[in-house]
Symmetry: C5
Subunit: 364 residues, 5 copies
């Protein structure tokens, strides 16, 4: 049995979503999602503290005491947590609904006092390509990030933040950019992996095109489809961030975002190329298989075609017509050179066939 990983096994599922007809702004988290862990990073140009927050009220205090806070939530299993944090920072209820609904496409939405970005972070485990939804809010003095589970690609940003100077990070739009940039750049290792996968597939096909290659090509195509589905809308969201007039984003940050947009374009370019190549691999596989099949069929044809008349001749002289009754009944059987002649006739027929095939270019 061929094994194929259909994309919905690895892509964000359609459900859970609020039931059709539910009032807008209903936060409906996936019941199987992990419980949230809230981590706050508060800083000004001089100092920086990091702490994991159990009582959400503490966030309000931190926000007041420090000039900038970055609240990161890992795990979206609890509607109350999302709602409370939303209340603290004054987030729009439609945006909060989207935070819990983890199968969104990347997008940018602007609300009064904050910008809401949905991005998708790539994970390439052994099985297939997956993405995790990152919901990012930023306002004058805060950045919020909601992740589906623990573990992200933000460690280098945290390190730069802990170091000094951190003036640039005092602009929360710059911090938001740094996070988005880290996400975009984490697509490159995923693409490296595709390079290797396509390389391996190509070798397999050229050497011995077995049946499970079909499944692997399909898997790769599905993964690339997922990758494309993740990165295209991110490019659009970045473009909106750059182009749309938006007081929360400074011109300096726009220059950096332009660089980030550039990377997204390069990723798309590579993804489209890989898609063309994996389509080409399918074609290559089919050509290889049919080439091998043709080789096999040719051998059968030639063997059969050579031996069919020989066997017929042998059949002739295996007939039992009574030579005693009539001089016309198989007199060859009683010739002195009968058998050698028959063998010679067979050899000549075989030789004739081989020459004919060679002239036709079917042999050697």
């Amino acid at each position: 049995m061929l094994k194929v990983t259909l994309p919905w096994k690895t892509w964000p599922r359609i459900s859970p979503h609020a039931a059709p007809g539910a009032p807008p702004g209903t936060i409906a988290p996936d019941p199987t999602a992990p419980a949230p862990v809230v981590h706050v990073l508060a800083f000004d140009s001089e100092n920086l503290i990091e702490q994991t927050v159990e009582d959400l009220g503490a966030i309000r205090d931190l926000r007041e005491k420090w000039s900038r806070v970055w609240v990161n939530v890992d795990g979206l299993g609890d509607a109350d947590t999302i709602q409370t944090i939303g209340d603290i920072f004054g987030l729009h209820s439609l945006a909060l609904e989207d935070v819990a609904n983890t199968n969104q496409r990347s997008k940018l939405e602007e609300y009064l006092g904050h910008v809401f970005v949905i991005a998708r972070m790539p994970h390439l485990d052994e099985e297939a390509f997956r993405t995790e939804q990152l919901s990012l809010f930023f306002g004058e003095d805060f950045v919020l990030t909601f992740q589906q589970r623990v573990g992200d690609c933000f460690e280098p940003v945290r390190k730069r933040l802990r170091g000094k100077p951190r003036e640039r990070f005092l602009a929360s739009d710059y911090l938001a950019y740094a996070l988005l940039d880290a996400i975009i750049d984490s697509y490159f290792p995923a693409l490296e992996a595709f390079t290797e996968r396509l390389d391996t597939l190509e070798k397999k096909i050229a050497e011995r095109p077995t049946a499970d290659v079909i499944g692997e090509i399909f898997d790769t195509k599905h993964s690339l489809l997922g990758l494309r589905r993740a990165i295209w809308p991110m490019r659009d969201a970045l473009n909106s961030l750059i182009r749309d007039p938006q007081p929360l984003i400074s011109d300096t940050t726009r220059t950096y975002l332009r660089d980030c947009y550039d990377h997204a374009v390069r990723i798309i370019d590579l993804v489209e190329t890989y898609r063309e190549l994996s389509a080409g691999l399918m074609e290559f596989y089919q050509s290889s298989v049919s080439h091998r099949m043709n080789e096999i069929m040719k051998v059968l044809t030639i063997m059969a075609t050579i031996f069919i008349p020989l066997t017929f001749i042998a059949g002739i002289y295996g007939m039992n017509f009574s030579a005693e009754r009539s001089p016309w009944n198989m007199p060859e059987l009683n010739w002195y050179w009968g058998y050698p002649f028959a063998l010679l006739a067979m050899a000549l027929v075989a030789l004739g066939m081989v020459l004919y095939f060679r002239r036709k270019g079917w042999v050697g």
Copy 2:
């Protein structure tokens, strides 16, 4: 016989339509359509009544007494009913013509004093994907909905309307939004069903690609084509609602419609993905079938190619050349080890063939 459900068996039929050349505004209902059942829901911020109306004149009274009315018509079998309701609310005759003609694409049309929206509601029964036309009008103080038959996805909206507070619903554009949102969201369960269907098909192909899989893939493709045909114009209609300057729609409602539009985009995104996947399934099916066919052919080839020369040798020694007449006539027959030698020769030929095939990579 392969069974395929061609889309016109499940899609809205082209006919009935008014005869070519008929004056514009002719209401030509399908004679087989069910008779209309008119249901009115009238309310203000305090009270709400629901009733099924037999005498259409009563609608006029309800409209006067209550600040807001929602008139829902199930069944479009009677031209008079449509015309009368159209007269009560001052609807344009071209719009009324479209109400009766139930194979419209989704669209938005603006008339003086009311907005006219055609949407298509999904039904996924066991056989195939179907849609039902919903014609929705809304003006300052009313919402009208015309459905092809009883049964819809509006129950949750009615429940929210019966509950309190219902201030938001006093804006008829908000009620219209809530209805459209319920329709859009009812596409998600339909998509779930496709997920399962594609999953099943994929398993069938990988395990045993039988002939009726072709039919099922075609059915799925047709259904997805129908789904796409239904949802694309709805997205465009929603976009017009959001973008076009239109006094009947408030900015708050526009924000909600933007969310609804977002869902439509996600549905389109999924539909396009599923279309690509079902095209891939066809390719996968063909690869699987030809892979299995090749396996079979290979066995034939190898069996035949091995036995053909063996049978030829047996044929040789079945010839009846008279060994008595000449020492050259089949002396092997009289050798002491003749038969064992012949068997050995056969075994060697067979072994040689097998080794050749193994070296070529055709066996094991």
Copy 3:
């Protein structure tokens, strides 16, 4: 021999056209076109007369006497008639050239004092889909229609015109709209016919995919290509009529044209769907044929593979090695149970093969 109707047998031919380099405005009618029959319908809000005109000068009088005239010309075989009518109504020479050249795409051209529309009327006879060119001019007080031959879809319009009230028709843009609407709507029956044709083809393929189905699918594709070629530019022409500022078209008529445009969009939508479906039918046909072929091949393979070793065994014991000369020469022949053993061996081999095939899933 497969029969296929190539589109140029049914589409408007490229020729006749004026020779390359001829001065612009040369009227070059097809010499085989029927002679023109000129029919005038003159009316005001009170009265209406219809007459067939032999002397073209009479048209000038009718135009003066009546407030509105509709001149319909059936048959374009005579350059003089076209030129004379063009002179009477002051038509542009480039437009007149296009009237005679009956393989134009639908288009809209605006000249001083008149609008020129080319539309294509569908004809679906048994053989294939054909279109006829309709050239329509309208100005302040006249509508002119040039048809390639007698017979059109305007009868219902004429009937409405003969009836009363005919106020609306006093606006010649409304009359032009009514004619275009009749043409657009006459595409629907043609589409119905395609529905049936695709339905029939689908059944044929599923039941018994014979060779002439290929030809029929190609015919259908060609016809759909022709249909698409006819309707796409009509949509564009209608769009220009609605959007472009044009004093000859009133806002009321624009609303009606919008409805007409809507129908054209629906037709295009259906045509594109049918094109996808007929492409799918081809794929379906090929899958069906290769499925059936595979079935046949499988039977051959299994028959051959089972009997090849059996025949070989029979061949062995048909050899004539002399058992008298040596105890090693075919002693089986003289065994007491030799023959039953041989038959048993054959039966076992056959059984083994069948079991092997069953285990592989190639049988039953």
Copy 4:
């Protein structure tokens, strides 16, 4: 060997072009191009002279004496001639570079005092479709045309020019239009030829799909690709002529150019249609071939499948088990009705097989 004409054998070659890095404006004519023949047609509203010019200085005099001149150069083998004429009329050096480089795409360029148009003239000889580059300049009082070789489609224009009245031609933009129109219209006969070619191919495929049809279809596709490559940019160039504000082109000429543009659109429309049809022919060819192949395979299968068991039975009774040694050894051989029974058994098996095939629908 299949014969295919690859397009670069018939299309304009990439080279000769100036070496990479050469200064812009370098005139690098193909050394194998024919030597130029310069022909001047000078006229005013009253008189007209035509002469072949050897000394290029004479052109300057003619330009001064006559109100309008049309200089036509056949053959681009001499850089000096091009440069000198360029100097006389004050042409831009980048434009002159393009004149000598005869593999340009059609385009329009506007310079101070003159407009530069590159168009491609079709030649359909027996082998394949070719185009020749026409470089056309026009200014206030002159039209220049550069052709690759003698022979063009301008004869009808010259005839109209020699005749009277020639007022219209006094506007050099009108003369330029007339020349472009002659080129565009000369595509129609080329399209006619494709009609016939596709027709012939279709018949061949339906009747007997031989191998060289593949080559012919590819040739046709290549030619259509070349045709498309020639006509698309011409449409764009014409569009620029019509739309761009340009003092050298009057509104009257724009109306004529619009007609010319219209023809280009029709040609593109036909080319695209033919491309779809030739793609369809390939599919049709493959269906036909595989249909015929299947027919052949079916006969083999049925023959083989019927005779395989029969031959096996004959093989059985050809075995030499000694009936004398045992009553179990082939007693059938000594039955009274043995042989007739054997024949009957064979007949029954054959009949059974035929009935089985007929029931399966594989025969008749």
Copy 5:
């Protein structure tokens, strides 16, 4: 084993890139890149010096002394060199990051005081198509070029620069244009090579479609994909240079850039054509292979089908039914003309088959 060069073996690798999350503006050169060699060409209208610079400080002096400098860096293995040169000319850090990262797409970026262009220079060695990244900066008085390795297509430009007059080159935008033009024009020889490659492939397929043709077609497709990937963004960058308002580029240079843009469009046009042709070659290959395969199968079929019944007849008369026991047992064996009759029967059957095949059109 089929040999295919996957594009990532020849295309710019994805890595090295700065680690995800690194601060923007990090210069991360490929550690394996060659060490930089800096070459300066300084000139004014009178004089010109060329020198290879070891101490980068010298560049600053040269820039001050001479009115114009062109600094060319071959080899990007050292981050310090890039940074120092960037400091001397005041380049933006994001641009410098891109210089070291040699797998950028072509692009144009405008910064205060300088324009940054990335272009890709083609290299077509025997194996495959490769490109090298050229980073070009130009400001009021300088042009900088960074190349990956020694060796470029700029020699003709240097020669023109060393000669006189060099006034035009005093505008650094003109020098930048000249360099870009040299790059664009160096694509033409690469395209020539493709012409030949496709030509060779076509011949191979038509004469003898061996298996490695598949690999070669795939290689060509990959190379064309790479070529397309290189040239498309260059066209866009050139377009930005022409269209965007930019004080550093004069109108004269814009005219030249327009010519350069034109060449890029022609290259794209050719690349797209070659892509279509190589897709066609694949189809052509498959048609040829299946045509040859069909020929072979046909011979097998005909041979087998003719001999199968003959062998059956021989088998019949090889049966050992005892004619002595019964007059019904194979009396033919004892007929006087038995054997000749049998041979005649065989000949008649064979003849019948051949006639049947000929009538079906399967033979000759």
